[in-house]
């Protein structure tokens, strides 16, 4: 019982980083209705720039954070420019396939610049875990959880209470109508990519600072975790993204403890499978409806 609770606590903390990655994914998916497989790799590029300034210039954690986030945003906009801007509406598969190609490109570029397999990352918090009776709370985990909740609330506020949020939601609802209302849809899309990449960059920083290292595989890891968490939580839903991340984290932490790492990944996919069968729209997403599909095509 103690183990179960402790695992759940740990799972919630790592799961909050999945939630942040899913949040970025869901922002892009919501606006574009397209999958950006290069999402994780662009965060990885930011993280590599972060470790570069850490190793070469001995920069402090704050500078590494800023560099990681800015690098992720630049890489995200690069992906948008190459894979999303040139593709006409309705060419979603073309965008997805080209984002896969850019994934390979970004990964190779990272390996060429920094050829060793692992590079160090500054630790997030070196304080001892806080003890509550038999349970331990890691300080970096708490920071991660707090960041996830604050950021998702911030993004939610931005979407529902600001002018640019109005533009984004109008674009999500119907891009042609958004144009006709006088909204600069192109700017809204670029903003969505930049925002999603910044959220991803913060998530990447938190995860890597907890691990204290970065590898080229981080891009794939981030894409997978974010994608699975988004699909569990519900496409296009911000609370869903965070919830999906937390659920994934808790299931992973417990299955790792009880069954080992191989079964952990297996169970993550079983969870995804069960979700897709039982609730195809995700926990908090709406079930995909035929009517909505035709509406999109008409637009």
């Amino acid at each position: 019982m103690v183990d179960l609770v402790q695992n759940t606590i740990d799972g919630l903390m790592i799961g909050s980083s999945y939630g942040l990655l899913a949040l970025g994914f869901t922002l892009i998916f919501g606006v574009m209705r397209r999958l950006n497989l290069s999402y994780g790799p662009s965060v990885m590029v930011g993280a590599y720039l972060g470790t570069l300034v850490y190793v070469q210039l001995a920069a402090g954690p704050l500078v590494v954070l800023v560099v990681t986030v800015l690098g992720s945003v630049l890489a995200g906009l690069y992906v948008e420019r190459l894979c999303f801007a040139p593709m006409a509406a309705g060419a979603g598969v073309a965008s997805m396939v080209s984002s896969f190609a850019i994934w390979m490109q970004l990964e190779q570029a990272a390996v060429l610049v920094l050829p060793r397999h692992t590079y160090p990352f500054p630790p997030l918090a070196t304080a001892d875990p806080l003890a509550f009776g038999p349970f331990y709370l890691r300080v970096d985990g708490l920071i991660m959880l707090a960041c996830a909740l604050a950021l998702s609330a911030g993004v939610q506020l931005l979407l529902y209470r600001s002018r640019v949020g109005l533009a984004l939601r109008a674009t999500i609802n119907n891009p042609v109508a958004a144009h006709l209302a006088g909204i600069d849809v192109r700017t809204a899309v670029v903003f969505a990519f930049a925002l999603a990449s910044a959220v991803g960059g913060i998530a990447g920083y938190l995860v890597l600072a907890t691990d204290q290292q970065v590898t080229p595989m981080f891009g794939m890891w981030a894409t997978f975790k974010g994608l699975i968490a988004m699909m569990i939580g519900g496409l296009g839903s911000i609370p869903g993204a965070i919830l999906g991340g937390l659920v994934l984290g808790v299931v992973e932490a417990n299955s790792q403890w009880y069954f080992g790492p191989q079964v952990r990944d297996l169970l993550a996919y079983v969870l995804l499978f069960a979700c897709l069968v039982l609730r195809p729209g995700g926990l908090l997403g709406e079930a995909p409806s035929r009517q909505q599909d035709t509406g999109r095509r008409g637009a």
């Binding site: 533009a167 119907n174 042609v176 109508a177």
Partner: protein
Amino acid sequence: MFEVSDIVATYGKIEALKGVSLKVESGKITCLLGPNGAGKTTLMMTIAGILQPRRGAIRLDGMDLAGLSPARIVSRGVALVPENRLVFPQMSVRENLLAGAYQRRDRAGIDSDIDRMYARFPRLKERREQMAGTLSGGEQQMLAVARALMSRPRLLLMDEPSLGLAPLIVAEIFEIIAELNRDGTTIFLVEQNAHMALKVAHQFFLMEQGRITFSGTPGQLAEDEVIQRAYLGSRRAAG
């Protein structure tokens, strides 16, 4: 004065508009008739900047609008109420109106315009916090009109405002069109329902296969043998 001259627009190799020229007089209601596939919606989308013309000029009071982005065209004073309304279904009625005023920065003016829209369309006021997707077809059409008016257009374009609406609602929509015009809005509308259009419009154009084939007043339109048969014949059949 709004003027379109020699507009050519293509979908791939297909010429949808083959040199369209027409004039819309300020303060009047001008109606564009024509069969399905004649290019009416293409013309509207081209004027609004969603489609780019291959050639030709689009002028509002001397300013050239061709080639501008849709947002720029809205800020120059042209707003389109699109075919099938295209409200933002998962946004509230109020948010739809706010989106229509996106190019404007005068908060106080926007707020008072929203109140004016509520006064003109009381049903939108009743449903102001409701998601637009839950409104009836007629209510959505009113919302689409109100959203377009929120940009304070000098020229209001309407693409088949009566499409898919019950006859009573159609009459109401045309009532609103006449009212807006009396208040000084220049209106250029596409309409299949020639009988309704005859009651409000001051000037007619007929478009067939990407060309303007007739222009005239309601009187001239009603007298024209061919148009009688093609567009007004249903009156005899119905009555």
